[in-house]
Amino acid sequence: MRRNIILLVVLFGICAVAFYFLLKLPDNSARETGFSRYPMVHQPKRIISLGPSITKGLYLLGVQDRLIANTIYCVDPPEAKNKEKIGTVVEVSIEKVFNLKPDLVLATSLTNPKARVKLKNLGVNVVTFSTLKDFNNICKQFLELGRLVDKENEAKEIVKSAENEVISIREKVKGLHKLKVFVQMGVRPLFAATGCYFVNDYIEFAGGINIAKEAREGIYSREQILKENPDVIIITTMGMAAEEEKRIWQKYETLSAAKSGRIYIIDTDEITSPTPQSFVKTLEDFVHILHSGE
């Protein structure tokens, strides 16, 4: 027994020493890699976009020839499909990104945080854009994007014109009857566009009332929706699921959206990856949906 204890103590000692040396090993993450660290690059020439809305924004700013790679979700504009692909919006191949020697990587909050940290450790200039909260936020991030790729003036102009259009649309719908709207972002679980998400702005700017505005979480109950009784339901998922969901809603006879047949399906890409310009376009669609009868 005593032998066992002595052995254990000795082993602990060895492990402690080994641990100490292990921790003292040179930290590879801090080692200088082949790249110099760019705090802020002027006119980045090799840009990688990790989000569809960022890709769209880069095309809008006219810097598509400096975009060297994007994700497989970047399908708009169609030319973006031909760029080199480095992964999905969430999971990117660090090796591939690094090997392309980018001088600017534009990530989103959806990008795997470990991948972002890893790339930063490797000396890659990674800028992360946060979740889009409202229209102002979209504009702000677009201006930031413009600043990063040295197209500040163009970005300002695009934002300015988008803002003006939004103002004029809001003027137009001001006096119109306000409808209760529910925008469904996901089918299973039933996911609502809450007040802290930019989709809320589509509804409010188009002169509607978002019934899920005050909800803290996106997951919403069908009962609650029936109780709120929206006049319009807009479903933003693709394919079969959306059609089926539409049929489900139509079965509720007391629901005013079902009674008047005002259940619509909108393309997900259009709605969830906005630039200031596409925001205006989608907003017009919303206005059309809400007020076409008036």
Binding site: N4, L11, C15, N28, E91, F98, N99, L110, P113
Partner: protein, 338 residues
């Protein structure tokens, strides 16, 4: 006896060679194509180039972490299977991984890792693991006798409860935290923090060393607890210590690499088919084989649909499960020295 030692050394040598081959394979394969010739050139002359960084900053850490996590998980499997004399026991079926997962999720949601640093993640994982193992153990004891069936059932139930708890945490957490949890649950050997990788390696080797001290006790356990007691083993103390080691190994693995299934269950069985139930050889060869298996699976996950990356759990599940069924149909497995 001498023949046995010879046989064992041969096994360890074979496993070592396999380990080196797999490591080399993992080092050379990836979404960025590099022929062997170029790799050699880069290693010797390429300091500072991007290829050098890809090899040593991206691929090497993953290999080291795969070695540590694979070894630790299958070691935990061997220890638990040996202690409970039950072939189905492993960190997952006992709910230890689930407990660790809940601990880590709570940490992410409560923002502890922001306040206390990255090191709080493994600590929470360990606490969750040990809590579950104590719970399972105390629930399965009736009048001082451990009921194996009860133990497994409790474990499975606890792992269901913890996966529900994780979903509960996910559905009430904010979007940013949610992303963190989702990524972490998917399980990946990508880890930017070198400190955690080194710690994982340290703990895995430490676990091997400590459990090796108890290899005779584990052999005695395979006769039954009472017999072990008669053989002069302090059963309660040994069990407690081994419990702590197993939960330390599992808790740390889960908190660094997320949920990676199957390694702890399949590898020990597989190795037992070849080297027999003696824990003197079983412990070390399971450790090596687990490391080989996980590094290999991770490499496949990286290259199979490059540049997209599969969660490593997908590969360990499919490959491990089907290999195991194949081996089972070929040869009757001998379990725990029976």
């Amino acid at each position: 006896m001498r023949r046995k030692v010879f046989y064992w050394s041969a096994w360890i040598l074979v496993l070592f060679c396999l380990l080196l081959t797999v490591m080399l394979f993992s080092f050379c394969a990836g979404p960025v194509d590099m022929p062997l010739k170029k790799i050699l050139k880069v290693i010797f002359e390429g300091r500072g180039t991007s290829e050098y960084s890809i090899l040593f900053d991206i691929r090497l850490p993953r290999i080291i972490l795969g070695f540590a996590i694979g070894g630790a998980l299958s070691l935990a499997g061997v220890i638990l299977q040996g202690m409970f004399r039950n072939p189905l026991v492993e960190p997952y079926t006992l709910g230890i991984s689930g407990g660790a997962a809940v601990g880590v999720c709570l940490n992410i949601v409560l923002g502890l890792s922001r306040g206390l640093g990255i090191i709080s993640l493994p600590i929470c994982g360990f606490l969750g693991a040990i809590l579950v193992i104590l719970l399972v153990y105390s629930l399965s004891i009736r009048k001082g006798i451990l009921k194996i069936q009860g133990l497994l059932l409790t474990g499975v139930m606890i792992s269901f409860i913890s996966s529900s708890l994780i979903m509960l945490i996910m559905s009430v957490s904010h979007t940013e935290d949610l992303h963190g949890i989702v990524f972490w649950v998917m399980g990946s050997l990508e880890e930017p923090n070198w400190l955690l990788i080194k710690l994982a390696l340290g703990i895995a080797v430490f676990g091997l060393a400590v459990s090796y001290l108890f290899c005779f006790d584990l052999n005695a356990f395979s006769l039954g607890e009472e017999e072990a007691l008669h053989l002069g083993i302090n059963v309660e103390r040994t069990k407690r210590l081994l419990f702590i080691v197993a939960s330390l190994l599992t808790g740390f693995s889960v908190s660094v690499a997320g949920i990676i299934g199957f390694v702890g269950l399949v590898v020990p069985h597989f190795i037992r088919m070849f080297v027999g139930p003696d824990h003197r050889i079983l412990l070390i060869s399971s450790f090596l084989c687990g490391a080989i298996f996980l590094i290999f699976c991770d490499t496949l996950a990286r290259i199979i649909i490059a540049p997209l990356e599969l969660p490593v759990g997908v590969i360990t599940g499919i490959l491990g499960g089907s290999l195991f069924i194949y081996a089972l149909s070929k040869k009757q497995v001998s379990l725990g020295g029976k």
